[in-house]
Symmetry: C2
Subunit: 125 residues, 2 copies
């Protein structure tokens, strides 16, 4: 038995658009942007809704938006989503990149927000 | 003075992937899919968080994810976002399609969820 929930939307943009896209979404959502000192490829734009993160990420790929699912068991969640029709793309240190049946990328990550996770995660047998 | 807030994420997919992607996200998020009788191009997958809608939409374009911003003044919000660096793409009956500075599409729509709007919309002068 494990749990999961949708936890974030990320705007992925190539380097040449990173700063202006961070500024745009910060202004659009009215939330200050915080670029991660340890990993400047990520800028947090806060929580547009309680328990839901919004980020801009610098990527070496065309612009796109992807979603993150957080879970208390990454391996079990990846397996569950694979059975539903997703494909594994790449395993990173602690998370998996997957794609849905139409090719949309999403990530399966460890729990980032324990309080929100307790409030709204679904349980899977 | 007007208000706006992030209100939805939509998975846009070509016709050949529509049904399987609806089923996939319905299973992934654990929420029944409801295809709109009046507009079968849209399938609602419920609210993964309170006040935040998740939908799958059939489009004549490559797969992508887009976000919706709801507002009590579409024209004023489009103008505000344009000043922040977005571009107008297309006006539909009651909403605008825009793109962020990296080309990611998003929509500016009328208020869909008045209660959530009252709870979490930001006010712009």
């Amino acid at each position: 038995m494990h749990r999961s929930r949708l936890t974030a939307a990320l705007v992925d943009v190539p380097e040449e658009h990173y700063r202006e896209v961070v500024q745009f979404w910060s202004g659009a959502l009215g939330s200050a942007a915080e670029i991660d000192d340890d990993d400047p490829d990520y800028a947090s734009i806060g929580e547009p809704l309680p328990g839901f993160q919004f980020m801009v990420q610098q990527v070496d790929a065309p612009a796109r938006i992807h979603l993150d699912i957080e879970t208390d068991d990454v391996d079990a969640e990846v397996e569950r989503l694979e059975e539903l029709g997703a494909e594994r793309v790449e395993k990173n240190e602690t998370w998996w990149v997957m794609r849905d049946p139409a090719g949309n990328l999403f990530c399966v990550i460890r729990v980032q927000d324990p309080a929100a996770f307790e409030r709204s995660a679904r349980t899977w047998d």
